[in-house]
């Protein structure tokens, strides 16, 4: 097991609860800071599945690396291992048994990382950077789904260099989510496609986008019977749409809400609108978290249609977030998301991953019907 690069110090958060004497705004929520964060913007985070004991966090970054930490019950984070790509890592996911991690990168390849042996092999190849990667576990097959900027969605069985299936999309894949048997892909030019994964993946429906601006992130939610029933879609202009696949009353059930905006009530100055960078659903409560370019995260209850909490503002955008398998931990990454181009990029600025106790704050409100 390799330690991380020597240029990051262990000093900052070895013992868990991190308290700083100065009120610097890099951690206004006073959350636990993960040790040895990546050296560049964090693009994706993923916690280990419930089939594995303990909590392991995987984070991919623009420094071409993927890091793995163990999150212990006392809040301590221990760096475990690291792997490299030859290009920035855009997405990561776990296999259902927690033994493998799949990573997708700008170098047009996807790799499978066996954590036990700490070996990686390449399992996918595209003509353009791979933007999303998801593991699909169906009763009769298992595969990895990769969505790329080459406008294709490919399915790989990890043992063969050729894809099991390749589906053409109308535009470049910008974000995707999979909850068997449903997959949603949001593409450039506001494209939105739902796939069904039973027997074999096929296109189920193309949906007209409920949002007027570029799609940035998507997350599927489940109904009370744990079946995927809809998705939340975030745009580049502070808005999230909740969309059900087959609602009894589409006009009433589907809705959008504004988020990640400033100066809510002040009409004298224009309202600043920020991009929604990621959306995550709590695995138990079904409430959702959104993180944005404004450096805040918010928790929402989509059934009660209310906001549960908004954080203080961090000094950097929040680029990624995820919940652990039992919903007790909420992880979010603070780093530059490139929302203002390269002029605002400061390579010296530190990047952080924070962990927060999510058991209480994401409990849904009582429904008002």
């Amino acid at each position: 097991m390799s330690l991380f690069g020597t240029n990051t110090a262990f000093g900052s958060g070895g013992t868990g609860v991190f308290g700083s004497t100065t009120t610097d705004s890099h951690n206004p929520m006073k959350d636990v800071e993960v040790t040895s964060p990546p050296d560049d913007s964090i693009s994706c985070l993923a916690f280990s599945p419930p089939t594995m004991p303990g909590n392991f966090l995987i984070g991919g970054s623009w420094a071409n690396d993927v890091r793995c930490w163990e999150v212990q019950d006392n809040g301590q984070t221990v760096p475990k291992a690291q792997q490299m790509h030859t290009g920035p890592v855009l997405d990561v996911c776990w296999s259902d048994d927690g033994s493998k991690v799949f990573t997708a990168s700008c170098d047009k390849t996807a790799k499978m990382w066996d954590l036990n042996s700490n070996q990686t092999i390449q399992i996918a190849q595209h003509e353009g950077p791979i933007r999303t990667i998801h593991w699909i576990k169906a009763p009769n097959y298992s595969c990895v789904m990769t969505g790329s900027w080459d406008k294709t969605l490919k399915f790989w069985d990890t043992r063969s260099p050729n894809p099991m299936m390749s589906l053409q999309m109308p535009e470049r894949c910008y974000c995707a989510d999979v909850v068997y048997p449903m997959a949603v892909v949001a593409t450039a030019e506001r494209g939105l496609i739902v796939y069904q994964l039973e027997n074999q993946p096929s296109e189920f429906r193309r949906i007209e986008s409920p949002l007027k601006h570029q799609h940035r992130c998507v997350a599927i939610f489940k109904d009370k019977q744990s079946k995927p029933t809809g998705f939340a879609l975030g745009s580049i202009e502070g808005r999230v749409a909740i969309h059900y696949i087959n609602p009894p009353n589409p006009a009433k059930d589907n809705f959008t809400f504004k988020c990640h905006r400033s100066n809510g009530t002040n009409t004298a100055t224009p309202q600043d609108i920020y991009a929604v960078n990621a959306i995550s659903f709590h695995p138990v409560h079904g409430t959702l978290a959104t993180v944005g370019s404004d450096g805040r995260f918010s928790f929402w209850d989509k059934d009660a249609r209310t906001k549960l909490k908004t954080s203080e503002q961090l000094d950097q955008p929040i680029t990624a977030c995820c919940f652990n398998s039992n919903g007790n931990i909420f992880a979010y990454a603070s780093s530059y998301d490139w929302s203002k181009g390269h002029e605002y990029y400061n390579p010296q600025k530190k990047n952080y991953i924070f962990l927060r106790n999510a058991a209480e704050e994401l409990k849904p409100r009582n429904k008002k019907w």
């Binding site: 690069g5 490299m84 933007r131 048997p181 069904q196 224009p270 490139w338 390269h342």
Partner: protein, 435 residues
């Protein structure tokens, strides 16, 4: 190569001609690629152009657009929506309207002319150009403009356009003179032929001038005993089509004496010969985009508003009494695990009003309105996007933050390779690359 020759033969008519001619090798390559369905190279090249548009920081941004458009025309010989050509033209043209330095740039003016030719009314575009001072010193504008007048049969205006050009001192003067003289020659010839035609008018209609010509768009005369006449039902043609028809009309009116084609340009004779050139604040509406539907009221019929349940198509059809035949090897359709309650099925749910068609005219007007609003107090919450909109939207298609950043990364890597930074190989693989 031989197969590509065959390609050309097979689809000659689908290939739009370019004024400056097509490069044969590019044409062959484009046709071969389309034949093989080789989209990836095309996509990569397109992506390369899009990235260049956003990352360019030199003095001449127009150059990137010009090259992009040229490549698009060569690569998509059939034109059409896939090529995105009209979008590209529109974007380029509107992007640099405020940029004075391009107002006399030949490339820019040629792009404007191409854009105008694709519009539903090129005259508006030319007038706008003149009002804005775009290309007023270039002969190309006046030549194209007068050509447009000539197409409509308005020789007098065509001539006056040339006079305007000469007055303004457009360059190159010689070219202007040449085209002007050609126009005058054509006008004379036309007058001569129309004078001789008047004498021949008494002749049989079937034989007009020396060679027998089939009168176009007239009724087909039945031959033989059967007197069945083919009903000609000309659909109400779109503006462009109609214009193409009357193209013939002014040049040879006496050949089809029976036919009276409605000439929309002649109709408003009350228009003064020299229309006032209004100051156009914005470029006119772009070409009639055929496949984009405008939001229209569907019918004027109002349905009586019964109870809610009355509106919805509630009752599912009764089950058939027989068992529909199911083939053995047909798998039952895969259903997503969602319950659809067939009883509650309001088919026509309220639809949000769709955004009216965005035309360049509207976009520029909106921008002006925004500027005005920002100086006023209007009590409404104004919004401001906190991201690099211009960077994302500069090309023909949008970019995301990650694509921008990935492009930059790729360029940096390419530069590193070029300068041959061998030092990175010595370092341990664990250490990450700091950008």
């Amino acid at each position: 190569m031989a197969e590509c020759d065959a390609e050309w033969e097979l689809c000659k008519e689908n290939i739009q001609p370019l004024r400056q001619g097509r490069s044969v090798s590019a044409l062959h390559q484009a046709l071969c690629q389309q034949q093989e369905g080789n989209h990836t190279a095309l996509n990569q090249q397109k992506q390369a152009f899009e990235s260049e548009l956003r990352l360019y920081d030199g003095d001449d941004p127009l150059d990137v657009w010009v090259r992009y458009i040229k490549w698009t025309k060569q690569t998509f010989p059939q034109g059409g929506k896939e090529s995105n050509l009209s979008v590209l033209l529109e974007r380029t043209v509107t992007r640099f309207t405020a940029d004075k330095k391009y107002h006399d740039d030949v490339r820019y003016i040629e792009l404007w002319i191409e854009f105008a030719e694709g519009c539903s009314d090129p005259m508006d575009v030319y007038r706008y150009m003149q009002a804005q001072g775009i290309g007023t010193m270039q002969a190309a504008l006046y030549i194209a403009w007068s050509e447009e007048y000539e197409k409509r049969g308005n020789i007098k205006m065509a001539d006056s356009v040339f006079q305007d050009g000469l007055k303004c001192g457009a360059e190159p003067v010689e070219k202007l003179h040449v085209f002007h003289r050609a126009l005058q020659a054509r006008a004379c010839r036309q007058m001569m032929s129309s004078m001789t035609d008047q004498q021949d008018d008494d002749d049989d209609e079937d034989v007009g001038p020396a060679e027998p010509q089939r009168s176009s768009l007239a009724e087909l005369k039945a031959k033989g005993k059967k007197k069945a006449v083919v009903p000609i039902n000309r659909v109400n043609a779109s503006a462009g089509y109609a214009r193409g028809l009357q193209f013939k009309q002014p040049l040879g009116p006496k050949q089809n004496g029976r036919l009276m084609i409605f000439d929309e340009n002649k109709a408003p004779e009350t228009e003064p010969q020299e229309p006032k050139f209004e100051i156009w604040t914005a470029p006119p509406i772009a070409r009639a985009k055929e496949n984009e539907q405008k939001a229209e009221k569907w019918t004027n019929v109002k349905m009586p508003l019964k109870s809610r349940s009355g509106l919805s198509v509630a009752v599912p059809p009764p089950k058939p009494s027989f068992q529909p035949f199911v083939e053995d090897d047909v798998q039952p359709p895969a259903v997503t695990p969602c319950k659809i309650n067939p009883a509650v099925n309001s088919v026509l749910s309220a639809r949000k009003p769709c955004r009216p068609e965005q035309t360049p005219l509207k976009m520029l007007q909106e921008r002006q309105q925004m500027m005005q609003l920002q100086t006023q107090e209007d009590g409404k919450i104004r919004e401001q996007s906190m991201y690099c909109k211009e960077l994302l939207d500069s090309g023909a298609t949008e970019f995301s933050f990650e694509e921008l950043r990935a492009e930059r990364y790729r360029q940096q890597q390419a530069r590193k390779l070029q300068t041959g930074s061998g030092a990175t190989d010595d370092r341990k693989p664990v250490e990450s690359n700091a950008n």
